[in-house]
Amino acid sequence: MSTNDFDLDQFKATYFEECAELLIDAETRLADLQHSPENVDAEDLNAIFRVVHSVKGGAGAFSFDQLVGFAHIYEALLDRMRQGEIQITEDIVTLLLSANDILTNLIQAAQNDITVPEEDFIDVKNKLNLLAFDQPVNSSTEEGETETTISEEKSTKKYIISFNPKPELLQHANEPLLLVREMKALGELTTIVNTDRLPSIQKIISDEAYFSWVFELVSDCSLTDVEEVFEFVTEDCDLDIKIEDETQKPEDVSSQPTSAPPIEDNSTKTLETTKKQAVEAMQAPTIPTPATVGKPTPTGNSQASQRVSSIRVELDRVDRLVNMVGELVITQAMLRQQVDNLPPELAAFMAKGFEDLGMHTREIQESVMAVRMQPVKSVFARIPRLVRELASKLGKKVELETSGEHTEVDKTVIEQLSDPLTHMIRNSLDHGIEETPEDRKKAGKPELATVTLSAEHRSGRIHIIVTDDGRGINRERVRAKAIEKGIINVDENLSDEAIDDLIFSPGFSTAEEVTDVSGRGVGMDVVRRNISNLGGRISVQSTPGKGTKFIMSLPLTLAVLDGMVVAIGKEKFIISLTAIIESLRPAKTELHNLSNGAEVVSLRGEYIRLVRLHRLFNIPGAQKDPSQALVVVVEIEGGKQVGILVDELLGQQQVVIKSLEENYDPVDGISAATILGNGMVALILDVDGLDAMARQASHKQNTDDEIDNQPDLLTTDTDEEKSTTTNQLANSRPEDQEALTNKATEEKTQRYEVME
C-alpha cells in the first residue's frame, strides 16, 4: 500500500469481528424462519437483510470482490422476500441457510486472504440468482462479473452528485475521503468543494463537518453502485445523485479533476497559500446544494458521546489487563504476607489498609474478568442448524429446545466449547434418537424426538447439559463392543454407570458403519479430553428407553481460581474451592484398607477413596496417619467423591492460574501453577487426575502383593468390624462399589491410550 492510500487494514479486524456477530444474528433468525416458515416475522427478514447488506458494504470498502458479488445476490433475494415478491417456503429457507454458510466461508476466505473456487458455491449462487433476478449466473462468469446480471446497461454516464454532510457526519466515524476514493475506483472523478461554511480557526469545532461537495463521476457503473458508496452516510448528509442528461452541469472555474496535474516540482515541494489565493478561495462560487445545513450546534460533541454505550476493544488489550490484575493480586498477597513480619502495632495499622486494598483488588479483578465474559449464545446459535441438518441426513424428526443461552462464561472457554458441544449433539442425534419415527411410535413416544440443550451456573462453574429422549445407551452392545475392542475383559463385571462411561474410551464406537455423522471411533474420548484440558468434566446419565443426558461442567474462567491452600510436609498446594465439599479428621475406626490395596474413609455410611498426596508426589515429612491429618473431601468427575489427605488447611486465597503446559510441562495430578504471597510457586491440584493416579497406585500395590484372589473385599482389624463394613459397602452407592470392583477396566483404558 502506498503512503497515499488511506490505511484500511487497521479496520479489517473490526470488520471481521462485526461479521462474526452479524452472522450469529443471521443464523439465529434463520433458525426462527426455519422453525415456522409459514408464520414469518417480517423483522427477522429485515434483520437478515441488514446483516448481508452490512457484510457487503464492509467488503466493498476492503475490495473483497468475491464476497461483495455473492452478498449482492443474496441481499437481492432477501430484498425481494421482504417486499413479499417471493413466498417463504421450507426450500427457500434451506437455500438461505446454504447461502449463509457460503457467506461465512467467503468471509473466512477474505480474512485468510484466499479465494474460494467458484465451483464450490456456483449451485447455490445460481439458485439465488434465479430467484433474485430471474436468471442464473453463467458458471464461466469471471469473478466480479456477477453484477452484469443486474438489469442495467453498461454505458458510460456522467453522475452529478451533491453531497452535503451534516455537522455530525465526522462524529459518526464517517470519512468523506473514503467516499471520494471509492468513487475514484468507479471512474473519472471531478471534485468541487464548497468551503463557505468553514469558520475561522477560533470558532471551528474539530470534529464537525463544514465542507460540502459536488462530484462529477464519469463511469459505466450503475446508479446502484454510486448509491452504495454513500449507503452508510445517508442519515448524516443531504445527498442528490443525478445523471448528466437530467441535470445541468454546474459551472465552476475552480473545479479541479482529482487526477489533477502533478505538483510542479515534486523534489522541493513547498505548499503555500498566499493571501490572494486564500481570498479567492473564500470567494469561490457557491455550489448549489439540495438542502441547507443547519448551523452547527455547540453541543454536538456531548450528544455524540452520550450515544456511545459500548466500545470495541482488542482482546489483546483485555488480556494484558487481566494479566496485570493477576500480577496485582500476587503483589497484594505478597505485601499482606510481609505484614506478619512487622511489629504488632504497625501490623494492626497496616491490616486495615490491606483489607481495603484486598477488597478493591478483588473488585478490579472481578470487573476485568466480567469484561471477558460472554453469553454462550454465540455457541448455541449454531446448534439449531446442526440439528436440522443432521436430522435431515439421518431421516429423523428432531426438535431442539434450548435454555440458558444468556449464561455467561469466559471468552476462552467459549472458544473451546464449540467442538465438544458439536460432538455431543451429533452423538445424541446419531446414537441417542431412535432410527426412525416409526421406532419411536412403537416405543410409545411421539414421532418428534426432543434434544434439549441448556446452560446454567452452578457452584461457580457452568453446566452445559445435552439431553435426548431417545433409546438410552444400549449397555449390552456397549459392553460387547468394549470386549471386542479389548477395552475390558470378558469376565469383568461392570456397573451400569461404568458401562455408560465406556463410550468415552479412546477408539470406542458402537456404530455398525462409518458415516459422515459419526462412527469413526473418535469423538467422545476427544470430547472428554478437550473438556478435561479446560479444567472441566463430562459425565453421562442414561436410562434405557427413556434417553441420555450429558453433563459438561466447566470453570467460568481460566484466569483465576478461588482456592484453598493446603500443606503437605513443607510443600503447599492449591485445591479449587469449587471442588471441595468438606474437610474432616477421621477417627481410626473410619479408615479401612480394601483388599485391592485402596484405602477408604467411611463418611456417613459411604466410602470415599483416600488419596495420599505425600505418597503420590513423594513428599517427605508429611503426616502419614490420616487420624492425625486432615481429609479434604472433593467432588470429581461424575459427581463422585475422593478424600485428599493433607497435613493442614492454610487458608482460602484467590490465585492467578499460570499454565504448566506453557511454562513447563504437563504433570499428572497437577492442573496448573500459581505464585503465592511469599513469591513461591504452588501447584494447583487436578483432583480428577489425582483419583486416577491413586487408583493406579493402589492397583500396582495390589498386583505386587498378589492378593487379587482374597475372598473378602475389606480387611479390618476385627471380624466384627469387617462384617459391619462389608454390609455398609453392600449398601453404599453404586459408584463406590464400582470404584472397588472396576479399576481393572479403567486401567485397561489407560493402557489403550498409551498404545494409541
Binding site: E175, L177, V193, I201, T258, I263, T270, L271, M282
Partner: protein, 98 residues
C-alpha cells in the same frame, strides 16, 4: 505535535497520522498560534494518513492566518497529504511552490 516559536514564526511538525483523533490537538496548536499572532510554518513531510477533520482545520488555519496578513506555509508536504488535499477538492485553493 508541538508548537515551536522562533522570530514570530510558529513551526508545527505534523503527526504521521492526521486522523480525527488528533484533530483537537492540531486545532489547539493553531489556536495558540493565532492567539499569539504568529506566522505559521508547517512541516508535513511525515504525514502518512490524513482525515477530513484535520484538513478542515489546516485550511481554516491557513485562511485565518492569511486574512490577518500573516504567512502560512506548508513545507515538505508528503504525497499522502497532497493526495488528500486533491481528493477533497482543495487542491485548487492552494498553490504549489518550489
Amino acid at each position: 505535535m508541538k508548537l515551536e516559536v522562533s522570530d514570530q514564526t510558529a513551526t508545527i511538525e505534523l503527526a504521521p497520522s492526521l486522523d480525527i483523533f488528533v484533530a483537537e490537538e492540531l486545532l489547539a496548536l493553531f489556536v495558540d498560534a493565532d492567539n499569539r499572532s504568529l506566522d505559521l510554518n508547517i512541516n508535513a513531510g511525515g504525514v502518512e494518513k490524513a482525515s477530513t477533520a484535520c484538513l478542515q482545520i489546516i485550511h481554516s488555519a491557513a485562511v485565518s492566518c492569511i486574512e490577518a496578513d500573516r504567512t502560512f506555509q506548508i513545507a515538505e508536504a508528503s504525497d499522502a497529504l497532497v493526495t488528500a488535499f486533491k481528493d477533497l477538492g482543495l487542491y485548487s485553493k492552494i498553490t504549489m511552490r518550489s
